[in-house]
């Protein structure tokens, strides 16, 4: 029987001729990732179990992105623990304030993930790298510790859902609308334990930034991973970034899918997720006029240059509405610099936005934009759970950069003109 793209990558990394859904396998890892929240727990577990060396300091990435620049004394202690571990073990890919970016934008940008890789990260949005045709999945701190100690980890081979994309995106519709639409259709556990295998003639028209956004939110449908085929755009993206050899895998024609979901890109419209689940989707037009007090544009989902170009295009020459705080956060230093070079930074500042150094901050109610009781934000981030961005009685509406920027200008949920 044929294998899906995910299954092929896992089989090769497990040293097996074939695997099937449900198999428990042990697979070799190409990269193990942690951040300032999850690494300290992994360090504790690693040391408590008596391990004293990492399997390969070149294949570990530690990215201090969540609460940095440190928001308080406790988070400074977390960073210190991660920093000292990285130094002690000679971890090559260690990123601290000044060089750091949001991990899932940073790792692809630095060429640390290649097509065909197996990557685990102690952060749920590690599934982002599926955009590059890699198998990547979020795990916990103990999995990170096990990966650092042994270079391997256990996996249950996932069954698959095939998502067939047709047509191409129109107007202000973006990758964010594609993934919110999909989650709205299949639910927050619609892909539980499964891989989301994106395919179809519509893939070619999607930019890499759109693909990163889509793969990033596979977890919001419960997915183990989301994965895209490797095409000319992927190869162009990794060319000049990835300096090692890699293998491109394709799904077998007779691969088995539990379910096939078709999405007609032509017919998609700007979509938002209302509180308190990403699956609670509506067309943005249906909820236009809903007042907001905050707009956040950034994150591992939508903090890439393509996202910020769209937001700037909407905001150029306009001003954020009175009573709205708009926070724009480029995901990496390279993107930040690009925003400066292209004049996007000026557009945001002149529009009355806070323009910040890279951080995950507001997405998880960490810092740089926590909300109090009764406030509502529109945000290009990935989760709108109860209390996600601050007070338990605050609300988050998930949206694309275009819709978030237009809403910041209007003072309520709005569509770009």
């Amino acid at each position: 029987m044929g294998m899906t793209m995910t299954q092929k990558i896992l089989a090769v990394h497990a040293g097996l001729p074939e695997v099937k859904a449900g198999d428990l396998i042990e697979a070799r890892l190409d990269l193990v990732l942690g951040n300032d929240v999850t690494t300290p727990v992994a360090v504790h577990v690693f040391e408590k179990a008596g391990f004293d060396r990492v399997f390969d300091p070149e294949k570990i990435a530690i990215v201090l992105d969540h609460y940095t620049p440190c928001k308080d004394i406790k988070s400074a202690q977390l960073c210190k623990t991660a920093r000292e571990f990285a130094r002690k073990h000679g971890v090559t890919h260690f990123y601290d304030v000044g060089e750091v970016g949001i991990e899932h934008a940073l790792l692809p940008e630095k060429g640390l993930v290649a097509p065909g890789d197996v990557v685990i990260g102690a952060d749920s949005h590690t599934c982002t790298y599926g955009a590059l045709g890699a198998f990547s999945t979020g795990v916990g701190s103990t999995d990170m510790a096990a990966g650092m100690a042994s270079g391997k980890n256990w996996f249950k081979v996932p069954a698959a859902i095939q998502v067939v994309l047709k047509g191409r995106l129109r107007g202000w519709v973006s990758g964010k609308d594609v993934i919110l639409h999909l989650i709205g259709r299949i639910g927050v556990d619609g892909a539980l334990y499964r891989s989301l295998e994106f395919t179809g003639p519509g893939v070619a028209s999607l930019s890499m930034d759109d693909r990163f956004t889509i793969a990033n939110m596979a977890i919001e449908a419960g997915g183990k991973n989301g994965i895209f085929p490797v095409d000319a755009k992927t190869l162009e993206y990794v060319g000049g970034r990835v300096s090692r050899e890699f293998t491109v895998y394709e799904a077998d024609p007779d691969a088995e899918y539990e379910r096939v979901v078709e999405i007609d890109l032509d017919s998609l419209q700007p979509t938002v997720s209302l509180p308190h689940l990403p699956s609670n989707t509506r067309l943005a037009a249906e909820v236009a006029g809903l007042p907001i007090q905050q707009a956040v544009i950034g994150s591992c989902t939508n903090g890439r240059i393509g996202d910020l170009r769209i937001a700037a295009q909407v905001m150029k020459g306009r001003h954020v509405a009175k009573g709205v705080r708009c926070i724009v956060i480029p995901a990496t230093q390279e993107i930040y610099l690009q925003c400066v070079k292209e004049g996007l930074a000026q557009i945001f500042v002149e529009a009355g936005c806070a323009f910040s150094t890279p951080t995950c901050g507001p997405c998880l109610g960490g810092h740089m934009g926590c909300m109090c009781e009764g406030e509502r934000a529109i945000s290009t981030t990935n989760r709108n759970f109860v209390g996600r961005m601050g007070h338990v009685d605050s609300e988050v509406i998930l949206a694309s950069p275009a819709v978030a920027a237009a809403s910041a200008i209007a003072g309520c949920v709005a569509l770009p003109e």
């Binding site: 428990l24 929240v37 999850t38 590690t126 916990g140 103990t142």
Partner: protein, 167 residues
């Protein structure tokens, strides 16, 4: 085998409500346990007793990969979570820290808050002593049982490494 009083929750209990991110600046399980579930059940931490059991609906533990979530539940005194289904990272994390969790949709639907429930981890048998009904959860595969028996993934790995050294 454990017996405890049930705390019951609904579907899609996410890791942001199990342990809100505002407390993730501490990696200490005891510190995290003080805030466990507080955004959906502020009284939980004052009522939970060592040995109690948590029962919930579909997709328990969805959201972030924070291992702090099962750590906080475990350190609060809860000995086992029974749910209709678990989000996959939460499922891995629980096994990896040696915290037993059982998938059983029937038990999750029928067991009520405050019931006395006993769980036999060897057989997967769940008994609601208040109603007298029993439920059979799927037992863990042998590989996962070995991880739980060793007290988690890292002790398991270490034991394997030591065994290989002496082989």
């Amino acid at each position: 085998m454990v017996t405890g009083t049930v705390f019951k929750y609904g579907d899609n209990v996410d890791t942001d409500v199990i342990i809100p991110a505002r407390y993730l600046n501490s990696p200490s399980a005891a510190e995290l346990a003080k805030h466990c579930m507080e955004d959906i059940d502020a009284a939980f931490v004052t009522k939970v007793q060592a040995g109690d059991i948590m029962v919930a609906g579909w997709n328990f533990g969805c959201g972030s990969s924070r291992e702090h979530a099962p750590m906080a539940i475990q350190a609060s005194g809860i000995r086992c979570v029974i749910a209709a289904s678990f989000a996959r990272i939460f499922y891995r994390n629980s096994i990896n820290i040696g915290f037993p969790i059982l998938e059983c949709p029937e038990a999750a639907a029928e067991i009520a808050a405050g019931d006395r429930v006993s769980v036999d981890f060897d057989t997967g048998l769940i008994t609601d002593e208040t109603t007298g009904k029993s439920y059979q959860a799927t037992a863990f595969p042998a590989f996962i049982r070995r991880i739980i028996d060793q007290g988690g993934l890292l002790p398991y790995l270490k034991a394997e490494q030591e065994a290989a050294k002496h082989a």
